[in-house]
Symmetry: C2
């Protein structure tokens, strides 16, 4: 698990860490049951504070991505990430709207937007963990 942080961006470190782990799961580089480094070793690996890692892990746990056993360590959710329910989809809908409104104003039509999304999907589906 290679983590690459950008300290220049305004995106909080713990959010970047969450995203990279979620992307790792989406790309199947991280599979159900796979272990994650402890909060302390992850923190020292990427040069940040233990609590910043802990914050990311706690939220990932809350969202169903990982399990945290008190002494066994941290693992990717063995039963797989919970499927999207209606609440999740409503939330996704709400979050996507500003992006699409923005795109519409700037003359990006539906086809182009969809194409962009397809490219991202391809990124997650093509390489089945072979990277």
């Amino acid at each position: 698990m290679i983590v690459q942080l950008d300290l220049e961006t305004d995106e909080p470190i713990y959010v970047q860490l969450k995203h990279q782990i979620i992307e790792g799961i989406a790309k199947k580089q991280l599979r159900p049951g796979d272990p994650l480094p402890s909060v302390r070793s992850m923190a020292s690996d990427i040069g940040i504070n233990l609590h910043t890692v802990n914050k990311a892990y706690q939220q990932l746990k809350q969202e169903g991505y990982i399990l945290i056993h008190r002494q066994k360590g941290v693992v990717i959710q063995p039963d797989g990430v919970p499927e999207a329910d209606e609440a999740y989809k409503d939330d996704l809908f709400k979050k996507l709207r500003p992006f699409i409104a923005d795109a519409v104003c700037r003359q990006i039509d539906e086809d182009e937007f969809i194409k962009c999304c397809s490219n991202i999907f391809a990124e997650f589906n093509q390489e089945e963990g072979e990277l």
Copy 2:
């Protein structure tokens, strides 16, 4: 221009205001050259501080959505919002990735995601300002 704020969410007020104006432009309820309320009247209309409105306006100006004349007031960009360039598209790509990674993990396939996006596009294209 009706503005509806949610003070419970963690989304900053000035961001919500920006989004609603951008959505208004996307829906063509706000057209090039249309006036926007002054920072003071907008602020008192929706019950927030003058500076919060000013922050939203300044960023909208910076992003090419509106023009601010020192004494003439605030208007939607008369020449239309600048079209998306490559930098904008790269940025959109980067921002969309976490959402799609998340969706992939939760078994939302490409078709379903695209359908969701299409629904949002429809929301902006159907009603050509007739609302």
